[in-house]
């Protein structure tokens, strides 16, 4: 349980206590049908950074230092999940920034895609493979245990290699698929970032929950770390041990990771 000194709902009216982290600006994109943009922005603030709302129809990334594509049902999942959002005006800038190295010489933009955001990243060809309907066809919502398989990305540096975390999972099109050659390549290059532990909730190939691009700046995962960041409003469990109801905050590490990587 949060102690009496911890407000039940964190007061985020003031900038984060660490000025360097607070100076890092993380853009959170809202598409038509996005659900979890406010949660992702709140996660950034709780981690000590500054969240910047980005609108899908804009072409300006507002000089943000990183971008989060949050979960939801962009364009109602019409056609395929993420397929239409991938062509939204803001995505041209996101794709250009994410692949900047080699073209402009600047360091590539860190991008995190969560759930529907992960689907947008595969549709954008920033990440290989794709998501299809869960093998059991049902929408599934549960606290899900994951193993951090690669803590070398800008989004996972706060975790230990092989560390386990528990964050909520909630989706219907969560089955990660790719051909065997691509899967072997991802494994060989250490690009499987998160793997389901104990239970594969959707039939994903090789229990893959999240992957990254070759540079490690683009990470996508199906479960929702932004829903496990604040005591009282998080997951019902934690890989670190028993916690009170809604007190699991194992997801916060992703957001702290990118802030620390940015100010390093």
């Amino acid at each position: 349980m949060p102690g009496p000194e911890t407000p039940l709902i964190a007061d985020l009216s003031a900038p984060g206590p660490d000025a360097a982290l607070a100076g890092a600006r993380i853009g959170v994109v809202t598409f038509p049908g996005t659900l979890d943009d406010r949660d992702a922005a709140r996660a950034v603030a709780l981690a000590g950074g500054t969240a910047v709302p980005l609108w899908y129809a804009d072409e300006d990334l507002q000089d943000v230092d990183a971008v989060i594509l949050p979960g939801g049902f962009s364009y109602g999942d019409y056609l395929r999940a993420g397929a239409i959002a991938r062509f939204a005006p803001i995505m041209d800038q996101v794709i250009e920034g994410a692949t900047a190295a080699g073209t402009s010489g600047s360091s590539p933009l860190p991008v995190l895609g969560i759930c529907n955001g992960f689907q947008v990243l595969t549709e954008s060809h920033l990440l290989p493979g794709s998501m299809v309907k869960n093998d059991h066809l049902k929408f599934l919502c549960r606290d899900q245990r994951l193993r951090v398989e690669n803590n070398g990305t800008v989004w996972t540096g706060e975790y230990g290699q092989g560390e386990e975390i528990v964050v909520p999972l909630k989706n219907q099109d969560g089955q990660y698929v790719a051909d065997e050659k691509t899967l072997d390549m991802l494994e060989a290059e250490g690009r499987v970032v998160f793997r389901y532990v104990g239970f594969n909730p959707n039939g994903s190939r090789r229990d893959i929950a999240g992957i990254c691009n070759a540079g490690g700046n683009v990470v996508g995962l199906m479960p929702h770390p932004e829903h496990a960041v604040e005591p009282g409003f998080g997951a019902d469990s934690s890989a670190a041990g028993e916690v009170g109801m809604r007190d699991g905050t194992d997801g916060l590490g992703l957001f702290v990771s990118v802030l620390k990587a940015l100010v390093k």
Binding site: L79, S130, V132, K133, D135, H136, V177, A178, G203
Partner: protein
């Protein structure tokens, strides 16, 4: 007005959970003659006037770029809809 039809199917090696669910349901309504079902998508692109070679090329590009995801799906048909196929349909 002409219509171009684009058919998209899940790749053979991709498990099609929706097709499987339909296959499981068929015997329950007394239709047991089928060994399997795969579910795809059909798009109809309407063209003002004649479907030129240029507009057909655009349809093929649309099929590859937006209407299908080459990781999980194949475009199995891009063709001008024959009159006989449109007969009886409201326009």
């Amino acid at each position: 007005m002409a219509r171009i039809v684009v058919d998209v199917m899940p790749k053979p090696e991709i498990l099609d959970p929706q097709g499987k669910a339909i296959a499981n349901e068929l015997p329950r309504i007394g239709l047991d003659g089928f060994a399997g079902v795969r579910q795809g998508k059909r798009f109809e692109l309407t063209v003002e006037g004649e479907p030129t070679e240029d507009v057909l090329a655009q349809a093929r590009e649309a099929a590859e770029k937006l209407l299908s995801n080459p990781v999980i799906e194949d475009v199995v048909r891009v063709a001008v809809l024959e009159e006989t196929e449109t007969q009886g349909e409201e326009n």
